[in-house]
Each structure stands twice: as structure tokens, then as C-alpha cells.
Symmetry: C2
Subunit: 240 residues, 2 copies
């Protein structure tokens, strides 16, 4: 049982709170049984598994018991989990542009981790779809994004913004073709920006089509997670 | 300038953190310029307006200056706002079942305030639509729900679950008619449950139709905010 806050495994978990450390070490941590189970089911082998010594979880992998207060201390989520595991970033599914799923979301500077995670979940539920991320997007392996993805992080291929194959459909709050009237083909990559900034002109003009989800005039527009979900729903509906 | 933590206005704001106090006093507070502006634009008269003495906001209403640290202390959101206002709950739009908007969301025990707020935003953007809440739902006037609603709280009529007019369409994760194939009429109330629990059998069987958003087999299902957004999108598309 780990009983010292100075234990190297706990130190590693603390370091992985920082995006920079996750990127440099090529590792990330997952808190909670559901998320760790999703990683195991996807075939990933955890580097470390730490469990609450007082109430170890029921998982098909052995874990190192940790004193509950120490485990809670190295976790970022509000509810202290029964398990925390460390996985390798390179073991996550990676977008292969030559063999990409038919649909995708290309996110431009979507900095909110909850939105990135929710869109991974949408890509998983309404796909098969990939997610492509520009610089300035939230790290999909951060704790909030991973949690919001409900494990979709382990199933959805992720690539860089440039790697997203066409045809590209820019999704903008107003002025585009109504999404439901768009002639969608077998393939579509929906390009979405963050809520306040939207898409810069060069990113928008590099798209083959510009679409808008029809909204009530005067309403605050849908957020990026809702817009991306609706776009994938529409793509799936067209295809069916 | 308010410089004492014991000031009665600050005390009131602290009390309003508790749902019970909001219900008993019939009041709620809104943090931040966007939200307060949305309330004013909707024609509500604030009972109290407190502003950061060091950087008062640009709003068409006078406010009582408060020492910044004291104002931050009575706020619940991460970023200390420049303004906090108190409004009356009875001044919010209320669902009139005899003159309800054509579409609506009836939420069964959706306890997450972010989801309730996001669905208010969806009802605002993809409506005209109302939101009906069962006991056990998050308080739409709580700080997280109000914030997630992006001001839609002031524009969308809210009623109780029983008040939602028919026809009712239960939205379930699996086994219902595909949402896109449903023969939707002019009116529709989509009935949604919380993520883990779903809808109890009696609530489901009281609905005229049962629909499902087609999803990739094996995926974690969409969350209630995404499902409700897609349902209103589909209703609007049908109607157009």
C-alpha cells in the first residue's frame, strides 16, 4: 500500500496534470472505473494502475493500492475515484488520412475541454467519424476532455487539423446553406470554430461548402458541441 | 462602495447559492455582464445590481459598487464577474399550457445543471420551444444552469413536467422508431430522462410515440443535452 505523498507513482500522476508534461512524456492519466474500463476494452495496456486501498474497483487488471486520501489528492475530478490509470498517448487510435472514417469533425481552436470531449463522444455515437484538432484546441487526453468523452477517446481516431480529408463543410452560425438542404455525399468533414471567435476567413474559404443550422432569429447560437453533434446526426440521416 | 462582508446585500447573494433559499425567497442571482444584459433585454427589472468598484461594467442600469474581492467572494463561478444582479423568479417566462410554443422538451429527473442550461439554450435556438421540468431536475435559476443557458433562461417558457402539452415523444437510447422517420406533426414534446436512469416505464408508456436517435452499435449513447438538441433540430427540419 502506497502511504507516502512522495511516492514516484503519485508524483508522476501530479506531473500529468500539466499538458506540457503529458506531451513530453507521451502519457496521460484516466480517473474512474468507466474510463479505465473503456481503455482496457479498447486493448490499451496501462503503464500504471493505482487503486483506492479501502475500496478497490472490480476491473480485469491488478492495481497498486493507495491510501484513499493520497489518491484523492492526485486526482483532478470532484469525486475521488477508486482507480487511476496511466496510458500511452501513442496507443490511442490515430487518424490515417488514407483510411479515414467517412465523417469527421475538424475543430479550429476549440479550447474548452468539455466541448472537445463531448464532440469525441458525438463522433463515437454518430460515426464512424474522426476528430481533427488545430493548435489551440484543448488536449483530448486532459482529465475534463477524457471524462466528457465517456471513453470515446479510446475509440475515435484523432488527427491534426490539416490531416482531415475533404470534402470540408464549414459550419457557421449564420449565412451558410441550411444544413438539411446540403447535398452531402458519402464523405464529409465538418469544420467548426470556437463559440466567440468562429472560423477565420482563410479557414472558411478553404472549405468546399458553408452550412448553417437554421436557428430562431435573435437566439444565442448553439455551442460548438451541439452544432457538431447536429452535423453528424444530419450526415448519418442522409446516409441511411 | 460596499466594503464589509457583513453587508446585507452580500448576505442575500450568499443565501441565494442554496436552491432552498432561491425557492423560498422567489429570487435568484445572475453573474456576469452577458447574463445580466440578457435579463434586462428580456424586460426584467433587477432587485439588486452589484458591480465591481474597480471595473464597473457597461450596462444600462445603475449598480452598487462593491470591493472586488468581496464581490468575487459571493460569486460561484470561477472567473469573478464585474456584475451580479438579483431577479425575481416570477418574472421569468412561464409555460402557459393553453398557449404553449409548438415544440418542447419535458425533462425527467435531469439533475445536472449544465444539461438543463444547455437544453434551455437549445430550446431558444431551435424553437420556439418550452422546457418542462420534473421534480429532481436541476434548478434552472442556479448559477451553472443559468450560465449554460447563455441567457435563454430569460426567453424560454418553463413549466412543470405535467404541464407539457402533447403529443409526447419519448426519446430513448435504443429500441424506438428512428427519429428521422417519425411522422412529426406541427406540435411535439420530446420526453427525455437522465443519462444513467433513463425514463421509468410509466413515463415512457404515457407517451404517444417512442423514438431513438440512430447510433453506432456499441457506442456510449449521446448525453441528454445532445439528444434533446438533435430532437429539436429534427422537429424544426420537419417543419421547414
Amino acid at each position: 500500500v502506497i502511504t507516502s505523498a512522495g511516492n514516484p507513482r503519485l508524483k508522476l500522476l501530479r506531473r500529468l496534470h500539466a499538458r506540457r508534461a503529458r506531451e513530453r512524456l507521451g502519457l496521460f492519466s484516466c480517473e474512474g472505473e468507466d474510463l479505465v474500463a473503456a481503455g482496457l476494452e479498447a486493448g490499451l495496456a496501462p503503464l500504471e494502475v493505482l487503486v483506492d486501498a479501502a475500496r478497490p474497483p472490480d476491473l480485469p487488471v491488478a492495481g497498486e493500492p493507495v491510501e484513499p486520501t493520497l489518491l484523492a489528492e492526485v486526482c483532478e475530478l470532484a469525486h475521488p475515484p477508486r482507480v487511476v490509470a496511466v496510458f500511452r498517448r501513442d496507443d490511442l487510435p490515430r487518424l490515417d488520412p488514407a483510411a479515414a472514417p467517412p465523417a469527421g469533425l475538424a475543430l479550429w481552436r476549440v479550447a474548452d475541454p468539455g466541448n472537445v470531449g463531448t464532440l469525441l463522444r458525438a463522433a463515437d455515437a454518430l460515426g464512424p467519424a474522426f476528430v481533427a484538432l488545430s493548435p489551440g484546441c484543448a488536449d483530448p487526453t486532459g482529465p475534463k476532455a477524457a471524462r466528457a468523452s465517456m471513453g470515446a477517446l479510446f475509440r475515435v481516431p484523432i488527427g491534426s487539423f490539416e490531416e482531415a480529408p475533404g470534402p470540408r463543410v464549414a459550419l457557421v452560425p449564420a449565412g451558410g446553406e441550411p444544413l438539411g438542404e446540403l447535398m452531402l455525399g458519402e464523405r464529409a468533414t465538418f469544420v467548426l470554430g470556437a463559440e466567440r471567435e468562429g472560423l477565420p476567413p482563410d479557414v472558411r474559404s478553404a472549405c468546399e461548402a458553408v452550412a448553417t443550422i437554421p436557428q430562431r432569429p435573435g437566439a444565442e447560437s448553439l455551442n460548438v458541441a451541439m452544432a457538431g453533434t447536429v452535423a453528424l446526426y444530419e450526415w448519418r440521416r442522409h446516409r441511411a
